[in-house]
Structure formats: C-alpha cells, structure tokens
Homo-oligomer: 342 residues x 2
C-alpha cells in the first residue's frame, strides 16, 4: 500500500503535534487539528493503516499514536517545511575571527546549546590533508630542544625534547635545513614510516640523537590524529522526560563526557559522501548505542584550506527538526565564510 495524500497529511499532523506536546496524539485531536474535516472515526481507520505500515505506533493499547523512527524519517525527508529566509535566532552569536580556534569552537558549542536547548558537540577541524608550512628546532637549554611546526591553517604543534648530549649550533642548523627541505610542503598524512626512515638515513652519521629528534618531530606532527571534540549543554537532555530516565541520562552524559564515541560519529560523518548536506540520524541510525532514543543532526563546516569539522546537535527524537536544521545551515554558512574573507 502506498501512502496517499490524506495519509501523508495525517502522519504529518501526528508528527507535528507530537513534536510540540511530547504526548501520544489521538484521533480526535487530529480530526480538529487538520483542515481535512474528517471525523475521528475516519482518522482512526487511517491511523490503523499507518500503524500497519510502520509509520506510527502505540505506546500501549489505549493510548494515542506516536511516530516511529520510520515515521520521523519520512517526515524529515519529505514533509518538513523549510523555514526559508526567516531570520535565524542565532544571529546574535556574532562570530568573530577570534585568536584561538579552540576558544571559537567552545563558544559556538555553548551558544548553540543555549539557543536550541539541546546538547551540542563540535569537532575541531581535521588537518590530515594539510601541508606543513614551517618547522623549526631551537635550543632552550643545554640539553633541551623545542620543536615548532606550523601547518596550513595556522595550526601550531610543538614538543619539548630532552637530549642526552649537547647539540652544537652547526648540527642544529643542519637539522633545521634537513627537516625543512624534506618536509615543507608535504601533507601531514604523507609523513609516514618510510618518510621518516628516509630522513634518518639522510641525517647519516649523526647517530642516535638525530634519530630521536626526528622521531619526536614526526610524533608531534601526527599527534591529535583523533578528533578533538568540544561539547556543551549535555544537561539539556534533562528537559525531555523521555531522556531523563536514570539509565538513559547516565549513558548519554557519559557519551558526552568520554567523547570517543562522539569523535567516531564525527569522523564517520566527515567521510560520508553527503556530508556537505545537513544530516539527520534518527534513533539507531547513528550507530552510537547510547543515542538510540535520540536524534542527531549534523553539519560539516569548512574553515578554509580544506579543514573540515562536524557540528552536531543531539536531542530527543521529537526535536524541532525545522529549527535545528535551519540553525545549523545558518551556522555552517557563517563558519564557512568566516575564514574565507581574509
């Protein structure tokens, strides 16, 4: 059986109503809610059909219906109205090109959570494909070096390394030249074991120390391969009774605190083909077990020079998809342009 227009309208009404109230919605309500002018009995018949088709379900026999995941999915895919051109409430955020990206992202997560009343996460842009711009080894102390690496997008990495014996100025200079000529302009993910071995060989006679230095520099460059995640508003879930249950709340909070699972989610998202679009994961669709009762809406942003990250909003399945998608679109655009101007 295919969904005719009336069934669509009814399903849409059920979803809308449930999003607002959070309570199962009955046939009488729909009968009055829509402009279909049908009696509750007719609606009941249609609802029975919709249930059989798996779009809605009854929490218990004598209750109204609530949308199933399949129902939400259909709603999100085909029935959601776009709030085109409506001025976004996020406008007040006033993103500035702040000095530290970390600060900026934390702020975004926070404002987003405060504006939406959902939990938010945002992954720092991943730098894998970016190129090295600058490497420098300097002596701090007699036996201490500091290595500074600057990557496209002005990401700075550094590491302190202690050496057994002193390294003289000449060696230091040689090392600097060696590192720069060989690594400059390379992408991060090109710095693999083979590359490092090659470097070590070129360094030649310079024994163990050199080898250590190169290793340390390589390590510093490749550090943070796992996504850095910033979160905010995890406690917003307590605003939704269906998530405030002891066990569920604990699980969700834990997911937000540990962050590994969120990182996986973000990584998945970045690799997905449609990641240019806003994505909606309903219930189990997100593959994170603790979110089986949540919906996750994600967007991919780009901070120029190919550095992409993921923004995610986590809330109950009955989240206000229209508002969330709209807000995310807006935010994504702001972030995308933020670093493009300069």
């Amino acid at each position: 059986m295919q969904l005719d227009e009336r069934k669509m309208k009814i399903l849409q009404a059920i979803v809308r109503n449930y999003l607002e109230t959070g309570e199962p919605v009955g046939s009488r309500t729909i009968s009055k809610y829509t402009d279909l002018n049908l009696s509750s009995a007719t609606i009941r018949n249609e609802m029975a059909d919709l249930e059989e088709l798996g779009y809605i379900l009854q929490p218990h026999t004598s209750a109204g219906r609530i949308p199933s995941d399949k129902g939400y999915r259909l709603y999100v895919d085909t029935m959601m109205r776009e709030k085109e051109n409506e001025v976004s409430r996020m406008q007040e955020m006033l993103l500035e090109k702040e000095e530290k990206m970390e600060t900026l992202l934390k702020k975004v997560a926070k404002v987003l959570a405060a504006n939406t009343n959902y939990a938010t996460m945002i992954s720092a842009p991943v730098v894998r494909g970016n190129k090295l711009k600058f490497i420098q080894l300097s002596r701090v102390d007699a036996r201490q070096l500091v290595a500074v690496v600057v990557i496209e997008g002005n990401i700075i990495k550094n590491t302190i390394l202690n050496v057994e014996e002193e390294i003289d100025d000449e060696t230091l200079l040689k090392l600097n030249i060696l590192l720069n000529t060989n690594l400059n302009g390379l992408a991060i993910d090109q710095i693999n074991l083979a590359m490092i071995t090659m470097l070590k060989q070129q360094a030649g006679i310079h024994s163990q120390i050199i080898s250590d230095v190169i290793d340390a520099v390589a390590d510093a460059i490749r550090s943070d391969e796992d996504l850095e995640i910033y979160t905010s508003g995890a406690n917003n879930i307590f605003k939704y009774p269906e998530l405030s249950d002891q066990q569920k709340a604990s699980d969700i909070i834990n997911t937000f605190e540990e962050k590994e699972l969120l990182a996986a989610l973000a990584a998945d998202n970045l690799e997905s083909e449609q990641s240019q679009e806003i994505q909606v994961y309903i219930g189990d669709e997100s593959k994170v077990a603790s979110m089986k009762d949540c919906s996750v809406v994600t967007a991919t942003y780009e901070l120029g020079e190919g550095m992409r990250g993921t923004i995610g909003i986590v809330g109950p399945k009955r989240m206000d998809y229209e508002k969330v998608v709209d807000t995310l679109k807006n935010l994504k655009e702001q972030l995308d342009t933020l670093y493009k101007i300069t």
Copy 2:
C-alpha cells in the same frame, strides 16, 4: 554540653553505618553494632541529645538518624581512622612521565573516577610564578610570524601573528634580542603593562608593527590565566540515589560541564593556607551552590618548579572518606615525585 566519649562512639557508629548502607540508622542497630553493650533505649536517649546538639538529624519522625553536616565534619576531623600503610588500590595506575601534561592529567582524572566511583576534577598547574626560559619570533610566511615562548616546567605557548608589511631579517633579529634580554628569567606575573610599555619604548622608532608584535607576545604569555580543568566520571553521581534526583543531577552535571565553578573552587583551594593538606568540604562548605548535597575532597599536587594544581573528588556526603583521603594522599605523592626525579 560537651560530647563525652560515649556520645562520640555512638556518633561514630552512626556515621560509619550510614556511610555503608545509606539508610537512616536506628537505635537498635547501634545497640548491637557497638561494643558498648547498651540497650537500644539508652542509645535512644543519647541520640536525642546528639540530635539536640545538631550532630545528627531525622529525615522524618519515625525514621532512624542520619549525620548532619556538623556530624560529618566532626567525624572527618576527629574520628576517621587512617588506613595507614595499606596498599593503595590505585597502584595499577602506573603514572608515567608522559609527553603531554594534558594527556597525563586527563588520564589521572579518568583512572581516579573509575577507581573511586565518584566524579573527579583536576586543574592544570598554574604557571603564574614561573619564569620565562625562551622566546623566539620566526617568520613563517612573508607576512606571518610565529612567536614561541617556553616557560619553566616546559610549558610552551605560541601564537601566530599577521603583520601588514614585511619584517626584514635584521628587524626580526633585533626583536628577538630585545625580547630575550628583557623578558628572559622574568616571572609571568611580572609581565605587566608597565613592562610592556617599557619594551615598546626601547623598540623605539620601529613603529606600529613592533608594538603589535610585543602585544601579541605578551598576550600569548599571559593567556590561560584561568585554570584549565579536566573532569571525569560525572555520571558516577547516578550511582547515589540522593544525588540522582532530576534537578540535582542536572545541576551537578552542568557544573562539571561548564567548569568555571570548578575552576573557582580549585583556585580557592590553591590560595588557601592549608592547601598542603587534604581538604574536605562538606555540603555548603564548598561555596559551590550545586554541591550543597555533595562532599568535595581536594588535594594539591606539585609538578616540580612550583607548578601547583588541584585534584578534587566529588561524591555524596556519605562518601567513603577514608578511602578517598587515602587514595588522594597516595596520588598526590606520586605526582609530587613524578617530576622531581628528573
């Protein structure tokens, strides 16, 4: 009325029992629990006295007694047995001098939370009094400089700065010399406005750019004045019914997520005179409103060279103080020695 020895013993028994069970404890239980060989009636009389003195209270008329904050305080101050020399369960932690302090602290917070079943926080050591070891400005691009500052304790700070016009090698060298001769060896908190103005004057003719550079470097040095806080196991609070209440849980989780309040707590703690000791804050004593139903146990650790930070354990008032204090003492010692050896 002063507490005689018998009242002390009874109070102690009440606290011990309550810590274990989490249930109000009645006179009959105490009568059997202790070696005082007193009937429940006698205990009842004594308990009435203890209640009048404010050490215990009744949740409701026909229930047993639970310790009041004052009762807990007396217990912690005078009655707690030290688990001297018992092998600490934290031994498995195997702290290593990991490359990154951030990683180390996150790990400590995590392991501590997993071991104690309470929520944990740890503040990164504050560097205010530490001295600058090394400053270097380098050119990355034609119009881009990177400033790297190394501080005692091997803390590295850096910043990228964009300049309007190119700075030639000679100017760069001069700037480097200027910065190093003037700032090296100074403590962070000595780099104030007067200092910076003085520097700018010394730079003399070199116009706006130089001034900008100096400002940026000064900013980088003084960044992170607010304490960095790492937390773990916030969801452990769900293991204690008295904290799992919707409102309380939300408040506590929020405190752990926002971190500002925790930072304030850590800062308070660092400035307190007795901060060398393990500190116990019961209920309102901690001044963080959301923790009025919790106890907070803190320790100050020192990572050599005067860098001190705070570790905190947050749990219900009926937390296992003995175990927690013991564990913290142990951990504190491990951290204190960790960086001393080298």
